[in-house]
Symmetry: C2
Subunit: 703 residues, 2 copies
């Protein structure tokens, strides 16, 4: 058990081990930043030479400090860190902030493990190593070697990259955004993002959380924490390594695994986390969330003085998932007095290039008072007739009124130097204003994603009860033969224990048995020779399809045996397999596996040979609730196939959802089953169920 995480962010006292007078040293910068940052607790420089450091009495050893120490910031050479941690532990320090690099990031994993091990023995937590430190507005604590001046504010940032984090300190200040906290997690030897969320989620000052991630170590823990976090406040993530090349670069650059970006992306969506592409977008979103109320509904209204820019904005709205308000009668009633006859009172509201600031004012006021409008996008093209001296004030005023009225609002202004100046002034004044339509729409899109997440709370997670004992028996049998996979009939048994329908099948030793089995299954059936001496069954005439009745089964049995012995005279024939002939359906792939990073995950997608080519699949962390399963299925591009194309009926979504839950449950309850894939799963019309045609199962000795 670690001490409460609040001790890390709001310590009553801090020791700086490696505090220095030497301006070139990291221990100098950190102590200087703590001092100039106005930290309200006690500060204890530690330096083996003792004396005075930056005006404070220095202790030769952390253990000499005559009072309690909540946090020790360690900025000394790597080889000395372990001993310092030992002393901190003895002293009862709650958290060690290990700035020093030269550990797992350069392959020195053992030393890092030893440090964490030692700290744990004393119940002490370790942040880092290989970090620039921690900033906490609540404690006025700037325990970093970054810029001296940090603007306090509403965004809490957790960053795995030191360089990006340090640069972000300046950027948040320059962009008038302000930090509630900034934590560098570095090698994440002990404390990771999930631990830090425990502080940031309930904390008052933090209105938005931004995380820069390169790789994740414990995905299951992170998912659990993120789900809780997004129920309380927006969480924005930048994860590098989206591309193959980027993932390679990330793997060489950090210790942790980059993982499949696609799985990460889908699971973040499941958690309600907003994933930004780059830093610009993430900052735009943070600003927008920090300045705007959440909308009360889905209807966005565009107000413009240029038709062309209105169309561009409508394009952007579709790209970012905004719904444009569409009640043309209500819009006409409300805007007919505001919009000139040659303009448009349809959405986008086009006030034409003749519009003045008073016309805009009237339009924004109408939007404010029109109840079904929930968010506003204001567009402006510089024109000759517009009274541009009034632009900034008009926008500022209406921005404030709309926000107060509970309506988020974003602006895009296109024009020359004057317009650029107005954008600068408005931006400083807290208005979300851009010089590009797409950039103006993106944050509103992010806000609507979050709005929908908040209004669509998950139900109870679904799991199916699995006959674990039966599964274990099958797995034991295969492991005894040193296999890492199951044979087809074993996989079918597994499906049977989980209640997933497979084609009925049995082995006939005699002609009479074959007929009996076929009659039991019902026609048509398929028959195949089973013999380890015959590998390519079709080639020797050992397979017969579409057998329609008793007499065809009799003919086929004789033909197959004859063909087989004709081709391989001494073949030992173990029997003839008689199998239900599977009716064609919509071919879907369903999978479940224990992901290295995220633990149990499930997958659904377009099956058959198209899996590899179209890669039309979606992933989720398991378990999950029914709504999320439906979302997951709807996300695949080929979802219309399940709704039925070309006059077909809707397919059996319930049965498909059930298979997803059952596969996930096997993975959850049977740790030695690492991977299950059904491809194709034939999905039939509503009410007619599914059939698992081809099943692959991977197993392992050690869970």
């Amino acid at each position: 058990m670690k001490p409460p995480i609040t001790s890390l962010f709001e310590p009553r006292s801090i020791a700086v081990i490696g505090a220095s007078q030497d301006r070139g040293k990291v221990g100098y910068s950190i102590l200087k930043n703590i001092l100039s940052g106005g930290f309200r607790g006690k500060i204890y420089p530690v330096n083996p030479r003792g004396g005075t450091v930056q005006g404070l009495p220095a202790y030769r050893d952390v253990e000499e400090i005559p009072a309690e120490v909540d946090v020790a910031c360690i900025a000394i050479p790597a080889r000395k860190v372990l001993a310092a941690v030992e002393r901190c532990g003895r002293k009862g320090v709650k958290y060690g902030v290990v700035i020093t690099s030269g550990f797992s990031e350069v392959g020195n994993t053992e030393e890092e493990k030893a440090i964490v091990q030692r700290a744990r023995e004393y119940g002490m937590g370790i942040l880092g190593p290989n970090i620039f430190g921690i900033y906490s507005a609540a404690a006025s604590l700037n325990c970093t070697f970054g810029p001296e001046e940090v603007a306090p504010g509403r965004v809490g940032i957790i960053t795995q990259s030191g360089a990006i984090g340090l640069a972000m300190i300046g950027k948040t200040a320059a962009e008038n955004l302000g930090l509630s906290a900034m934590v560098s997690v570095g090698n994440k030897s002990d404390i990771d993002e999930a631990d830090l969320l425990e502080y940031l989620v309930p904390q008052e000052l933090t209105k938005i959380i931004l995380m820069y991630i390169e790789g994740i170590k414990n995905g299951e823990k992170l998912v659990e924490h993120l789900k809780k976090a997004t129920a309380v406040k927006p969480v924005i993530v930048i994860k590098s390594g989206r591309s193959k090349r980027g993932a390679m670069a990330a793997a060489s650059h950090t210790g942790s695994l980059a993982g499949s970006d696609e799985v990460f992306d889908h699971i973040m969506r499941q958690c309600g986390v907003l994933r930004a592409e780059g830093i610009r977008e993430a900052f735009d979103w943070c600003s927008f969330f920090s300045r705007n109320p959440l909308p009360r509904g889905e209807n966005t209204l565009i107000i413009t003085n240029g038709g062309g820019i209105g169309v561009l904005a409508a394009d952007a709205c579709e790209k970012y998932g905004l719904s444009l308000y569409d009640d043309t009668q209500k819009l006409k009633d409300a805007f007919s007095t505001v919009v000139p006859a040659y303009g448009s009172s349809k959405n986008p509201i086009d006030m034409t290039a003749e519009a003045s600031s008073r016309d805009y004012e009237a339009a924004f006021e109408t939007a404010l008072n029109l109840d079904p409008v929930h968010a506003v996008l204001g567009l402006y093209c510089e024109t000759a007739v517009f009274d541009r001296e009034n632009l900034a004030a008009m926008i500022s005023r209406n921005d404030e009124r709309l926000k107060k009225g509970g309506k988020p609002v974003s602006f895009s202004l296109l024009g020359g130097e004057n317009t650029a100046r107005d954008i600068g002034v408005l931006e400083k004044g807290g208005v979300s204003v851009f010089d590009d339509v797409y950039q103006a729409v993106s944050p509103l899109g992010a806000m609507y994603f979050y709005h929908r997440h908040l209004h669509d709370r998950p139900g109870p997670p679904l799991t199916a009860s699995i006959d674990v004992h039966a599964v274990e028996t099958v797995v034991d049998g295969a492991l005894k033969e040193d296999r890492t996979f199951l044979f087809a009939h074993e996989a079918q048994t597994l499906m049977g224990t989980a209640g997933i329908p497979v084609p009925r099948s049995a082995l006939a030793g005699t002609l009479e048995e074959a007929v009996k089995i076929a009659e039991g299954i019902g026609y048509p059936v398929v028959m195949k020779v089973v013999s380890k001496d015959i590998l390519h069954k079709s080639d020797v005439g050992g397979v017969m399809l579409d057998l329609l009745n008793r007499s065809e089964v009799i003919d086929a049995y004789q033909a197959i045996v004859g063909n087989a012995l004709n081709a391989v005279p001494n073949a030992v024939i173990e029997g003839i397999e008689v199998t239900e002939m599977v009716q064609p359906g919509t071919e879907i792939i369903v999978g479940a596996r224990r992901d290295k990073i995220f633990g149990p995950i499930v997958m659904v997608g377009l099956g058959g040979i198209y899996v590899e080519v179209m890669k039309d699949v979606s992933f989720r962390s398991f378990p999950l609730d029914r709504k999320e399963i439906i979302k997951m299925i709807k996300e695949i591009k080929s979802y219309p196939l399940l709704l039925g194309v070309r006059g077909e009926k809707t397919k059996d979504m319930d049965a498909l959802a059930e298979v997803i839950v059952r596969l996930g449950s096997i993975i959850l309850h049977c740790p030695r089953v690492s991977d299950i894939e059904i491809n194709p799963l034939m999905v039939y019309e509503q009410g007619l169920g599914v059939k698992a045609v081809d099943i692959r199962v991977l197993i392992r000795k050690q869970p």
Copy 2:
């Protein structure tokens, strides 16, 4: 024949019809802008009251002007425009620039047509109506009612939106970009984008062409001009109406058809045109092209002081289609002395957060001297140790050296106020520098698209010789019956005349004929009853599949006739169709049609039931060369199916390409065939050809 387009951009004289002393009038602003813009030719105000306008003697009528008039700018009420055009025509004016609105954009199409008709009688060209005018740097002509000050420069802009165009005048100045020309095309009643390209493409001052398009009238003409243009200089297009909603808004907002955005997008790519998403991106690309040399090869190198930002940049490079230089040995040899031991001399070159401006200098110099590096991306995160007072000068110096060395370069700087200031200074100084990695990479991506276009010149366009007479005969037959489509056997005949293989098939009137046909085709065959009295052939047992030999054909014939007469006792049986049983192959869709906007176009994509769901298709304007056909096929996501998945052999791409050419040629040469679609076209292994299974052909009376 219109007068040379140079007369419009570089007139020796201009008359302003509607020139005014009244500051509220458009005719005032235009004359004022012409005067203050320093136009070097003669200026003639025309106003029925005569006298003096803005210090110049005014003429009551354009015909009173005692000298030649090249351009007449018309800014008078709509109802008076036609008469003014008539007088201009009589006067011998070469181009009328009709500012006035109130024509086809508000439904007044007749008046607009009359104006163009009248102008044509006099050999005069019409720009507009419904425009803000024309600016031309070569003539120092600001014949617009936009801003008085226009920054001359290297970008020629053609815009269909007045508001966006006017705002862009200011924006180009504010962004230090500068205009060579700006033309508002408005309703495009006569002169369109293609006509204007005739001036801008050969013109010296114009280095880049930017077009804002809402809808296209004559796509074939535009394509022809764009192909020529991109061979000479980059062309960037913004087209609104990407989304369904946007397209709706565009259609209500302009007269012209928005068309299918997907077709537009693919055809622009075929023309080598760069399509920007929004105005920000378009401006970034224009700036970048105006400042940077074209690269000599594909290898981009990233130089960074932060690993994380390097990974983000690698992601962005993949998104925008850049190739990262990958020769690790050469990179190691070149950069080992520049990069510290704990950095990385792999691409991205990571100089670590310890890097100073001197380290960057060394790295950029190495990149300059390393021959196989063709483009550079410079990344910077603000750090505590960097000597930031040297940042701007260092970047400026290296930017210049790299460009001089023929290597385009883009920068992204992340940091606080100082960094923002440096970005501003560098930007003004002509450096392509951004505060976001994705934004920095996007223009380089655009440049590489253009680089590839220039280095991959098209071969001769392919067409197939079509037996037009045979096609016409089939079409005549169908049109006589008032049909707008062909029956299956007619469509098959059409394929036959074009040499596209279809399943062999013939109608048997007797059992003996059926056997003869089957033996001719080869087994297996399919047999179907043909009778207009029997609609659902399968339901009555009128279809038999997979008939393997003579005796099965005999049995099937008797069974089919028996079943048919049993089900519909008085049915008139025209015969039994005997058809080759088509072997399964890769199911592709191929189409060709006469597009309303672009004329003959061809399409290829994933066929079968997946067409509607996956929409995995690509389009091209026809005719096209072989390389472009291959590109078109490679663009579809399911292309790997044609390469062969799961150990299959490569499919017959030559035969597929040939079908595309033949379908396109039918459309090209037979104007009454408006639409052909083959789905599926079975594509077999290399050398085994294709087979057109299902063919739909639409026809029309009037081409």
